[in-house]
Symmetry: D2
Subunit: 138 residues, 4 copies
Amino acid sequence: MESYCHKVHYYETDKMGIVHHSNYIRWMEEARVELLDRLGISFASMEARGLLSPVVGIECRYLRPCRFDDVVQINVAISEFRGVRLVVSYEMINTTTGELACTGASQHCFTDQTGKPIILRKQYPDVDAVLRTSVQNA
Amino acid sequence: MESYCHKVHYYETDKMGIVHHSNYIRWMEEARVELLDRLGISFASMEARGLLSPVVGIECRYLRPCRFDDVVQINVAISEFRGVRLVVSYEMINTTTGELACTGASQHCFTDQTGKPIILRKQYPDVDAVLRTSVQNA
Amino acid sequence: MESYCHKVHYYETDKMGIVHHSNYIRWMEEARVELLDRLGISFASMEARGLLSPVVGIECRYLRPCRFDDVVQINVAISEFRGVRLVVSYEMINTTTGELACTGASQHCFTDQTGKPIILRKQYPDVDAVLRTSVQNA
Amino acid sequence: MESYCHKVHYYETDKMGIVHHSNYIRWMEEARVELLDRLGISFASMEARGLLSPVVGIECRYLRPCRFDDVVQINVAISEFRGVRLVVSYEMINTTTGELACTGASQHCFTDQTGKPIILRKQYPDVDAVLRTSVQNA
């Protein structure tokens, strides 16, 4: 599990005075990018090699709202990968309030730049290996 | 079930050349706002009466990507309401390609402006009644 | 001059209770896309022909705030084009309040897909002709 | 002058493969929030005291595009304040390429929470004093 911090921006709030729920989905992406960076298989390097990992599913549970200027710690881990589908899990702690703000997960597949599915083990065995060894039980 | 159309904006695309997945969550909100409008219990009127309905959960399954200028038809319905939690379901058809692009659901609770939970039947019986009679089986 | 309407989305508001100022820049793009569509030189068709028109400058004057659910009419016109730089002007009327909400302008250049500047008259004379004949004095 | 760094997020790119121009306006806000924090007159503390500073004007010149994962250094300074209107200036350096990416400015007024203009010197003399002594010539 890795941790990533995001400070809430003013433009992420809505008229309820709290963070708009769509932004948590973006923060998941920020944390996922950081996680893959640290694992040595960054988005940028994967895309440079022709490998894309589109999001095929999202789920998010909102427990306590975050507000402007709050610092949110996002714990992120690879929770499932057996060769085809990647599942990344997230837990967001509002460090300003100490509350668990949100939990979520994203599912991803792997494709080439035309959208055609890719078997990582065959075409990108190094990426496959890193993902397999990085899976953590929740 | 009601239908709402959204034409994909340039700023909703990302460097993969497709709509960024976070935007579908926003389109769900657009469709939900429209649905409640048509049911006579608009967001604006509810908020004017002190009633908020924060999102407590989101799930989204991305089936086929949408692209710039595509017209997306969002079929939206209230799929569950027994007094406390509201579940709204979405089905997005990319009318430009004819493909089912996405399915999803959002869960909502009801609170006053301080975030305190509200029992609709007691405090807003008219809203409660509309929601109960609008539930549709998928 | 053409008109384009945008209904304010909930996710476009911020904690001040009004539309976040960055969204007007996005509405300018929506109106510009619609304008070029009506002129027969749509973004999509230009990009399909390898022609991009990146934004090189933006200015925006915010006069009166827009709020959730307000309907904003955006009057959009090509205010300058002499072959290289395109200037598009915008005037946004909040039709819900009758107020002039915002005025602005965007400047654009033309490039190929590698970012190299293009002389429209030589490479896309049809686009050049449409833009020249569409210029309107404010 | 203060410096603030922003790492480009995937969701900030568009189908041209570069950062969508509307995001620079948001980065200006991020840098401005940070600047006021360091000056001891944070947005959050001002809003807690009933003082808002809506944006009344924006201008932005885009010189070189930023891309996913680039680190952008935003130099931000108060360039004008004589009691009513605040002007904040920005210069964005793409530290990944070494290029000057963007220059811009935002204009702000001061109001109470009903939108009524406020004379800072009378009602918030401490804020007025900090702003006056922080003005820098470009």
